[in-house]
Symmetry: C2
Subunit: 407 residues, 2 copies
């Protein structure tokens, strides 16, 4: 009999309307809705292979080749048991001939194709890949929005990585969390022109974890409730409309405002939480100046880029594809690179980026030129699709049920 | 006949509840009340000499020896003309024998005893000294709260420098601004134990001016109105009660929360405004750790210091006198000084501060050790009194009506 095995990959997503605060820490129910762009798995992805076998003694999981301890009642155990429950209810209880995979232990191997040192949160793509691979293994008939309820319990923002394009995570109202799911606002094919440049920023200090940080904000910020009740609902509606209208100017305005407001409520926390550092601030100054020039009537009067920052110093800059070459040149002007820019879209040809050029009318003094390494690397990617089921040649588990790849 | 001349000094004040936003930019009426500590003029002060003389052709003003252009309708012209109006109404119209000083031009010389490079706002002490010196010259019977209405029109926070100790600036409600004045919550003698350590932080970048920055926040921040309506009124009441009860723990908690909330609404502005830099953030981390240790039950369970930041990267650390030696040692541990600490209170004796010591139980890793010069200097001062009328030996104007001192 062929082994019961499935391999999937899942994408990273970066929010435009930020998730910050839980109303239920066990079920991971958020205090507000959020919205993100799913990034292309051709560049950044988590890949996961799941195998169920009656010979396995217990559920085991390896992350980047290192075995993790699946704690009972922990987030990984919750996702695995919830997926087994769905297998039983939706498949085995319906079709008596279906193998009783829900009774077998599973071995799971997961691998991120981006280094941990990049400072990109891997929990979103990782839990999305875990959920998607178990859904494939168990042949669940469930759509991504249903699966998002499970991924959410692994890591909140993971629910948004189960769909491609532009994805909203509804806060929901039910205590059960059954309405706190991810839905697609628009597929990547609606607006494929949205590209992203990730600026990996060096940081000497380990920041506050988002799990503990967001609850400190919920407990101490005097501004958070106003954000939740009055700012986010309007922004969710406005940015969804901007996406449907492919209105980048409005998309950028809201994205930057919400990134800044998220960091503002972090600062309004006791003790205050800082994720951005002086390099992050300098990137903001460069993009704000770039937009100031673009907003001049003679230059078209519309924003050309949008920065956003998650719980760390890295910038993600969203922009229409046509602007990315200019933006990379600007960033490299202020933040010289130690390593040559990897140019996946071939923007710069064989000559490379060079020392970085400014655009006409740009006020150079908005930032200083930093030492090489202040921005450690640049990753150019774009909006992309949801999880993919991969062929057996991509399996991370060998015939012996143990990881093939060690990192 | 003796010349009509008066010299006064006025103090710096540093707010615990921050002023940010005007409801009337001409009259300088704020969107919210604020509260500050007046600092001792023995250390930081502006001194101003005003002279009225029938031979003077026009109103002239020298700041640190350099003549300023008194623009018609500008803030200095407004203060001078308002003070002349008060002279006429309160003195000359009441006592026909009083010299008609309101009809003479004035020469005014002002001098700050702290360098501009220190990054301390000199407009508050400067406009307070201007107002106080004209009030002395004109022999006005007006109490400081009345004079504060004039100083406020020069620079909003100047109104608080007309009183010593702990001073509230009432936002007021009248369109005329007649109820937007400064009142003393408690004199310096009520709580003389409050000391302050100013950490002068080096910054490479000129920040946004507070005048333009606060209006950008009023126009674009989605959080500011919530701060104004719901946070500040309660904090004004709570910190006033803490001051009257000499409750430093509560005073510190509110002061730090309000500094952080002020910078949060700056960040919630479009484009965002940043005044604190990585050095400012590191000082916050050190003081938060100092308080974390102090808040342990075995250490007394109360905060021992409070940081606050105005529209720039400098920290002001308030603390009871007994803690300042420990705090200076901590700061110097992380921020080595290029120049020896000037020790006005003789805390360290002839041996000096040395390399800076940590307190027991302190987690050293909350910040890195910075290069010398990141904190350019430390100024130790304390709560102090309101403006002082000085003797003729302190005059900044010579017999010829021109400045004696050039800087």
């Amino acid at each position: 009999m062929a082994p019961f095995i499935a391999t999937t990959s899942a994408p990273v997503n970066i929010a435009c309307i930020k998730y910050w605060g839980k109303r239920d820490t066990k079920l991971i129910l958020p205090t507000n809705s959020s919205l993100s762009v799913t990034l292309d798995q051709d560049h950044l992805r988590s890949t996961t292979t799941s195998r169920a076998d009656p010979s396995f003694k217990e559920d085991r999981l390896w992350l980047n080749g290192v075995e993790e301890n699946i704690k009972s009642g922990g987030r990984m155990a919750t996702c695995i048991s919830e997926m087994k429950r769905m297998r039983k209810e939706l498949v085995e209880d319906v079709d008596a001939s279906a193998p009783k995979l829900s009774t077998f232990s599973v071995h799971i191997a997961s691998y991120n194709n981006f280094p941990t040192a990049a400072g990109l949160a891997s929990s979103a793509s990782g839990f999305a890949a875990l959920t998607a691979s178990l859904a494939a293994l168990y042949a669940l008939p469930s759509p991504p929005t249903t699966l998002s309820l499970i991924a959410r319990q692994g890591s909140g923002s993971a629910c948004r990585s189960l769909l491609g394009g532009f994805v909203a995570w509804n806060a929901g109202e039910l205590a059960s969390g059954l309405d706190s799911n991810a839905v697609q606002v628009a597929p990547e094919s609606h607006w494929p022109d949205i590209h992203a440049l990730i600026c990996v920023v060096s940081d000497t200090k380990k920041g506050t974890s988002s799990t503990s940080g967001m609850q400190r904000t919920v407990e101490t910020s005097a501004l958070l409730q106003h954000r939740i009740k009055h700012c986010v609902p309007q922004r969710m509606a406005d940015i969804s409309a901007a996406i449907l209208a492919r209105d980048f100017d409005r998309f950028a305005e809201i994205t930057m405002a919400d990134s800044n407001q998220f960091h503002a409520v972090c600062l309004d926390t006791a003790p205050p939480i800082f994720y951005m550092n002086d390099v992050s601030r300098a990137i903001i100054a460069v993009i704000e100046e770039y937009n100031r020039v673009a907003l001049l009537p003679e230059n078209g009067g519309k924003r050309k880029a949008a920065y956003t920052y998650d719980a760390g110093p890295n910038a993600v800059i969203y922009a229409p594809a046509a602007n990315i070459k200019e933006i990379i040149s600007l960033i490299i002007h202020y933040f010289p690179q130690q390593d040559a820019f990897k140019d996946p879209f071939g923007l710069f040809g064989t000559a490379g980026v060079g020392s970085g050029a400014l655009v006409s009318g740009f006020n150079e003094s908005v930032a200083k030129t930093w030492e090489a390494g202040a921005v450690k690397g640049l990753i150019h990617t774009r909006v992309g699709g949801g999880p993919r089921v991969l062929g057996p040649e991509e399996s991370l588990l060998g015939d012996n049920g143990l990881p093939l790849k060690t990192v």
